[in-house]
Amino acid sequence: MEMSSEQRIEASRDRVWAALNDTEVLRQAMPGCESFEAAGENQFNAKITAKVGPVKARFTFKVELSNIDPPTGYTISGEGQGGAAGFAKGSAAVRLREEEGATVLAYEVKANVGGKLAQLGARLIDGTAKKMADEFFENFTDLLSSDGTASEQSAAAADGDLIEGKAGKELPTWVWATAVLLLLALILAAIA
């Protein structure tokens, strides 16, 4: 499948990045996400149970970031195994920009699915993936706008450390966000 879109988030880039840096916020925004954790430099593991219609499967995802070029873009690639349901793998090119005080996140996802997912769902993937991407951003925006959901950690992040695009051990927050997006796209592709 191929999916490309832009998402305008009605918040300053500072505020968006701060919230996106909160892995707990991301976990909550993504339906069915049980865990999302670092597994090495620029590598992450996630466990996600996804259900669409009659198909329910638990996916183990491994993703890796490359071509990291803060704060303008990077490539993220990964693979998810869903047991008997099959597999999903793919990559996404991501671009971030500021626009009239809001943040626009543009993404292009290319993903392949295999096994039962391809056999039964190939034709449904694109539509379902788009629908669920919208759902993710809806959740995310809700979490972002409701006071009190932001943890102390994200509040601290909002103070400015990460906004400066800190090089080194911690990744820019938008990387987390787009990693989640890719995972989301893969899962959507997988379960669609």
Binding site: G83, G86, G114, Q119, L120, A122
Partner: protein
């Protein structure tokens, strides 16, 4: 009684149980202690098997065992075989890669068998299968028939450089090339034959039981040929000695070829039931059927015809690439070779034919026989080419056929491609079909349709096929590992009813009725007193099964020969009882009579005498039970002309088949109603291929059409009411005067439909399936 004999449209005896839900299919059978098998299948088209960790699955609740290819190999089981050799142009036999029932080291198509989980319940087996951890090293996939062997693709098997299974030229290339050089006109056509999933209604299933006391394995299978299964599983797969293996094919819900072959699942279930010492059942779900049943067709070809100034065919040249899939299925090599190239003459007296077939391996499901097997491919190519020839010469499609048909007085006719047609009258069938279809009135109908914004087209297809498979000597010469005779046993019980054991099988064609009619007609026994028994190696002595429209033409003759033996023996018994000379006994309508007298006894009385031989002729054995074997002298050559008329909506590309006329030569009909049903079903199959069906793999080797969401089968609203008639000839090589009818529709229909669409749109060609999108694009390009 003659009411139910040859020529009567007797209602099908078996329909009572089929229509009332009382059929007995493999999955209907459940036995005490039964366990369930689920196969772990590769999600990748091409990958190395780097590791298989079965420990979690082994420990899962209810799981009895998890087996992999190593376990099968350790027991010396397998590999699966291909039974027909084709010699490649380098003089070597076709390349035959190892085909393990459970993969070893590598998987070669999506759905390939990696492991099997045996558990107490189906749900537990499925859960267990989820826990088998497999590390795959993904390799590039090869899926495209045209380019698989052009040297640009990843090699799949070590033994098959460039993915070539065989390159098989046939015919006098020099003479053909010379004829082309001297020709007035050459017509050329590139075409594909779309890949089909055979789709019998009942998915494949297997139930294995091991009796540790008798050391016998009983395997219930969805099979068209139980004895062939037993022979191959025993002699080549080392499952068990033949006398310790019983294969039963109970009711079979459609086969169309897909249930001929010996599949991995069947071998594994047979082996696993002994391994776990419990009955093991496996039933395919529909997606497994799409993935792992042998597929059909999948050719890419170029066809050329050289003609003189009158449109007379001088020579034909055909270059074909045939996709055999990832491994060779049981008869995979035979379909695009002997069953294809030897039919390329069709109904025409083309003196010179040269064919070159390159059979290739790809990372797709194995390809093998599917209703028609090779003959639909040959017929589609030829009948499309003939229409292109007609257009190029400015001749009517009917006229170019007339000019090139084999003359009716030329039979038996030796074609330049091996086959010798024993009988046929192609002109008669064509003229009858033209009349049935009101060919003359087409122009007016087309005009009227145009006034409604529709494009009306008419298409002809004059096919011939070779069935009644097959003379054993011919099969042997061609590199086949079997004889294709048939056997029968006709047994009177002492009370006068009759059991007919046939080595053929039925997967829905109504043999229980047709064969009973044969016996009823010949022996004069009421049809309700005749039972036809098939499908069990423990009941019938041997047999080759059902495919290639052979059951009546070969198996029926064996039954008739057994009846002849009973009559001959009956005459001796009756002569003794009636105190007459054996030579004076005449048999007719179930009665042995002394010629010229009113002294007679019924065949039932004779049978009773044979079992209670108190007063009995000397030297005659008791019992009234005869065996016969029949090895056909030749193939059988049904032929006919089908005419399809369509209306195309140029704005939507939707094709409506508004009229379909079929005139076939099946020789003598035993049950016209059953024959008509076979014709209807065959045409529906052919319409499915022409308009709807296509198995598609993505470039990565994923099967994208693995459910009825994405693979379109024909439905009632795709089909008109058919006009069916016959133009029979008497085949001298068949003792019953019969030909086969089961595949004819699937062979004749696709070119008739496509020729009609091409005619409607005024284009040169349109590939199958002619979906609305394809037709719409073709209409746009023509406009």
């Amino acid at each position: 009684m003659a009411d139910n004999g040859i020529g009567a449209s007797v209602r099908r005896k078996e329909d009572n149980r089929f229509l009332l839900g009382k059929g007995n299919y493999t999955d209907d059978i459940n036995v005490a202690g039964q366990t369930y098998a689920v196969f772990v299948r590769s999600p990748h088209a091409h990958a190395t098997l780097d590791s298989i960790d079965t420990s979690a699955a082994q420990a899962a609740p209810g799981v009895l065992a998890v087996f992999t290819g190593d376990d099968l190999a350790a027991d010396g089981i397998g590999p699966l075989i291909c039974g027909v050799t084709v010699t490649s142009d380098d003089g070597e036999p076709h390349r035959a890669p190892m085909h393990p029932a459970l993969a070893q080291g590598k998987v070669n198509y999506v759905g390939d068998h990696v492991a099997v989980v045996i558990a107490e319940s189906l749900a537990q087996a499925r859960d267990g299968a989820e826990l088998v951890q497999v590390d795959y090293g993904v390799l590039p996939a090869v899926t495209d028939t045209a380019t698989a062997a052009d040297g640009s693709q990843q090699q799949i098997h070590e033994v098959a450089p460039d993915n070539m299974c065989f390159n098989w030229p046939f015919g006098d290339k020099e003479a053909v090339d010379a004829a082309f050089d001297a020709a007035h006109k050459v017509s050329t056509l590139d075409l594909i034959n779309n890949r089909m999933v055979t789709n019998p209604m009942e998915p494949r299933a297997a139930l294995g039981e091991y009796n540790s006391g008798s050391e016998e394995i009983t395997l219930h299978l969805t099979t068209q040929n139980p004895h062939v299964h037993r022979l191959v599983l025993s002699a080549f797969n080392q499952l068990a000695p033949e006398h310790k293996l019983r294969v039963v094919g109970p009711d079979v819900g459609g086969g169309f070829g897909a249930k001929i072959f010996v599949y991995a699942e069947e071998l594994v279930v047979g082996w696993a039931c002994r391994k776990v010492n419990r009955p093991v059942k496996w039933t395919a779900d529909r997606t497994e059927a799409f993935l792992a049943d042998a597929h059909g067709r999948d050719h890419v070809a170029t066809a050329e015809m050289a003609m003189d100034e009158n449109g007379k065919f001088l020579a034909m040249r055909v270059n074909t690439r045939a996709n055999l899939g990832a491994y060779l299925s049981t008869f995979g090599t035979m379909v695009p070779s002997y069953l294809y190239a030897f039919l390329l003459a069709g109904q025409y007296a083309t003196p010179l034919i040269y064919s070159e077939v390159k059979a290739v391996f790809t990372n797709t499901a194995p390809v093998d026989a599917s209703r028609g097997a090779g003959r639909p491919e040959a017929t589609f190519l030829l009948e499309r080419l003939v229409d292109v020839c007609a257009a190029d010469m400015g001749l009517d499609p009917a006229e170019i056929r007339r000019r090139n048909f084999i003359p009716t007085d030329a039979f038996p006719y030796q074609t330049p491609v091996v086959q010798c047609y024993d009988s046929g009258d192609y002109h008669a069938a064509l003229e009858k079909a033209l009349s049935l279809a009101d060919y003359e009135g087409f122009a007016a109908r087309a005009e009227e349709a145009r006034s409604r914004g529709k494009r009306r087209g008419i298409g002809l297809s004059s096919y011939v096929e070779a069935c009644g498979i097959a003379p054993s000597a011919a099969v042997g010469q061609l590199g086949g590992g079997v004889g294709l005779w048939e056997s029968a046993q006709v047994r009177f019980n002492p009370t006068g009813n009759v059991q007919v054991f046939t080595g053929t099988h039925s997967h829905g064609q109504g043999h229980e009725t047709t064969f009973a009619q044969l016996v009823c007609d010949q022996l004069g026994v009421p049809i309700e007193n005749i039972e036809v028994i098939h499908g069990d190696t423990a009941k019938t002595q041997f047999g080759m099964g059902t495919y290639g429209s052979r059951s009546l033409a070969v198996g029926g003759v064996a039954i008739a020969k057994a009846c002849d033996k009973l009559i001959a023996k009956g005459k001796k018994i009756a002569a003794h009882a009636l105190e007459a000379a054996e030579g004076d006994i005449e048999f007719a309508d179930g009665s042995f009579a002394v010629a010229g007298t009113d002294k007679a006894m019924s065949i039932g009385e004779v049978a009773f005498n044979a079992y209670v031989p108190h007063s009995y002729p000397e030297g005659v054995e008791p019992g009234f039970d005869e065996n016969a074997f029949f090895d056909p002298l030749n193939f059988s050559f049904p032929a006919g002309t089908h005419i399809c008329e369509v209306e195309v909506d140029p704005d939507t590309g939707v094709v409506d088949i508004v009229r379909y006329s079929a005139v076939d030569d099946f020789g003598k009909l035993i049950n016209p109603m059953i024959v008509e049903g076979q014709v209807h079903g065959g045409i529906a199959h052919g319409v499915g291929q022409a308009l709807l069906e296509c198995a598609r793999y993505g470039d990565d080797g994923q099967l994208l059409t693995a459910s009825y969401m994405d693979y379109a089968m024909p439905r009632a609203d795709n089909l008109p009411s058919f006009d069916v008639d016959y133009a029979p000839t008497d085949p001298p090589d068949n003792p019953l005067g019969v030909k086969g009818c089961g595949e004819a529709g699937a062979i004749g229909a696709p070119p008739a439909v496509i020729n009609a669409i091409v005619n409607a749109l005024g284009v040169k060609h349109i590939d199958m399936p002619a979906t609305p999108e394809n037709v719409w694009r073709a209409a746009k390009s023509a406009a």
